[in-house]
């Protein structure tokens, strides 16, 4: 078994078998993802602390979020995760045509997400909601001066921009890797036993999706009931 596997160039010479190579690759990817969990949990923690210190300010600032665009973006990202997982499956069953179609679909949906996000940033700039650079929103500045809420609403938008920009940066990196793999998949090298690179970018893509699953309710939805 182990000897016959080595006739296949998809198996690295330092592995004994495809099973071992697959487990090693997946384990390494999860090690990387656990550092990513730590990166994002630091930011979520800062969000929770500010939210606990200035609850009314968060509700007031949250009022300016476009829930419709946020919901559409959540759906787009979920659909991109579905196309990603179907790309992995296509590689596993050896269908190169479907693999490349699903990779391209994933990249397209990722691009739609980033486009909608960019439009939201444009709206925030237009409404004067960019802390430090362009903080001219009359309503928030007036309410803050009147003491309707404690703290500055700039804190909320600072957290919002840091978290979503770092998330978007991850999306951009993922997009680049998905397109690179789409290009390299021309010769069918990722089919059957060679599907590990597709599986690994899939893990990364879904992880970025999970981060958004938490960002969306925290940044868009909480405070809407008031």
């Amino acid at each position: 078994m182990a000897h016959s596997d080595h006739d296949n160039p998809a198996l690295g010479h330092h592995w004994e078998s495809f099973e071992q190579q697959h487990q090693g690759n997946v384990m390494g990817m999860w090690l990387f993802l656990s550092t990513e969990i730590m990166l994002f949990s630091g930011m979520f923690l800062a969000y929770f602390i500010f939210r606990m210190l200035y609850p009314d300010m968060f509700t007031a600032a949250n009022h300016f979020q476009n829930v419709f665009l946020g919901t559409v973006n959540t759906a787009v990202l979920i659909m991109s995760s579905v196309t990603m997982v179907l790309a992995v499956r296509s590689a596993q069953v050896g269908n190169n045509r479907l693999l490349r179609i699903f990779l391209l679909a994933t990249a397209f949906l990722g691009l739609v997400f980033l486009g909608i996000k960019a439009y939201e940033y444009y709206e925030h700039w237009h409404e004067g909601l960019v802390p430090g650079l362009h903080w001219t929103n009359a309503e928030l500045i007036a309410d803050e001066a009147k003491g309707i809420f404690k703290g500055s609403a700039q804190i909320y938008f600072f957290m919002y921009f840091v978290m979503t920009i770092i998330h978007a940066l991850h999306m951009t990196v993922g997009l680049g890797i998905v397109l690179t793999l789409w290009w390299r998949a021309r010769d069918g090298r990722f089919l059957k036993e060679g599907f590990d690179p597709i599986e690994l970018i899939g893990l990364y893509w879904h992880f970025v999706d999970v981060v958004w699953v938490f960002l969306f309710p925290l940044l868009y939805l909480l405070g809407k009931q008031g």
Binding site: L31, S34, S41, G42, I49, M84, F214, L222
Partner: protein
């Protein structure tokens, strides 16, 4: 070697995730008091669990991979719990009253 999951499973999970998103948006506009935050985070946790277990195939993870998955979560719990321990108890005046 690799577990090949039926397409139907992936589509059903995708559908469930979309439905959960619709639920969490709808519930956000109903005033449940402090429960709004609980529901929002609970739905997000269910969605995340579905993605990790089904899409990321964590349910097939072997020993060392499982270790790394839980290590990330445990580190996150340590950050959150130990920091909040401090922040949430700063107002306690039990031992400083005259």
């Amino acid at each position: 070697m690799a577990h090949i999951v039926p397409v139907r499973t992936y589509l059903m999970v995708g559908l469930a995730l979309i439905l959960l998103t619709a639920i969490t948006v709808a519930v956000a506009y109903v005033d449940l008091g402090p429960l709004n935050e609980v529901v929002a985070l609970a739905v997000a946790a269910i969605k995340a669990t579905l993605i990790v277990l089904i899409f990321m195939n964590a349910r097939y993870a072997k020993g060392p991979t499982k270790l790394f998955i839980f290590m990330g979560l445990i580190m996150m719990a340590i950050f959150m719990v130990f920091t909040m321990d401090d922040y949430m108890t700063r107002q306690w005046t039990l031992f400083t009253q005259p």
